[in-house]
Amino acid sequence: MSDILQVRVWRGDEQGEYQAFEVPRLESQTVLDVVSHIQRHMDPTLAYRFACRVGMCGSCAMTVNGVARWTCRTHVSKVAKDGALELAPLAHLPVVRDLVTDMSEFFDKWARARGQFHPTATREDPFARVRPDSPERRNADAGIECIGCGVCYASCDVVQWRPDYLGPAALNRAWTLINDERDGARNERLRAVGDDAGCLACHTHVSCTERCPKHISPTAGIAGLKRAVMKAALRGDL
């Protein structure tokens, strides 16, 4: 293990360039540790975003050596085998400055995919009893741990090709709600995701599934949405 990491960090907004830093290499060092070292000891003007540092909040995702990753739980030893790191902001999102992107559109698309829960009961009703082993509950379980980090969105070529595409995270959210038997907006949601900017645009590159740090498969949810949209269309519900 070399004592020094050669780090290149994107500086600027959409227009900018990489700036080189030499960072001390430490045992069990994460990529976020490296960025924090640069900001605290070498250049306090470096802009980046993080909060929890333990893989819960989804705010520290960046492009690390070309691949979107959560940086707080990515060890340097995993991604910088030759002692070099290249850090850039997430792809497909407007760059605010340096490593910070504007994620407004990413989350607006969750709303466009009808990512809000629409209850069918009131607080006066008894608790819903959902069988943990029902297929719907299992489908929802498989996608519910999304932390909204944007790694899938930044890894998806379809987002790059057609910017109005809702993207893997928003569609995964829609899929978890489609499988929530307490929700009452199934057909509205299928209409929202069942067009050319929704699940039907997915080319099944599987990049989102390949890169998701929570090991969720948005591809599975999108395939499920495609089937649900097809069945609803055949029934005349759309």
Partner: protein, 114 residues
């Protein structure tokens, strides 16, 4: 910023690329294929001359390439339909390996037969 090419280096993306390129090449080949078939209607002698020309080793080699492209596109398409229409399971890479294996077998069988 756009997707870095390094982010695309995983099996399913390569499978997409093979599917797309094989589809484009086969689309370009099809008009030529139909033109030759059309000779059967009123240019039988010319068609026979053409078939004699296709006996050359280089043309046979190109035909094997076409068979491989066709097999890759067919198995790749079946793989996508299995992923999207059957119940989901973690078999993306298994399907990919089966599609690649069948493609190689098709190419080898064609090369052996001709």
């Amino acid at each position: 910023m756009k997707t870095d090419w390094r982010a695309r280096n995983h099996p399913a993306w390569w499978a997409f690329l093979v599917h797309r390129i094989s589809g484009i090449v086969l689309t370009l080949f099809l008009p030529f294929h139909f033109w030759v078939l059309g000779m059967a209607l009123n240019e039988a002698a010319r068609m026979d001359d053409f078939f004699a020309w296709t006996d050359r080793p280089l043309v046979k080699f190109a035909e094997a390439g076409l068979v491989i492209l066709l097999a890759a596109h067919l198995t790749g398409g079946l793989r996508l339909m299995a992923l999207e229409f059957l119940a989901w399971r973690g078999w993306q890479k298994d399907l990919l390996a089966v599609a690649a294996g069948l493609t190689v077998i098709a190419g080898v069988v064609f090369a052996y037969v001709v």
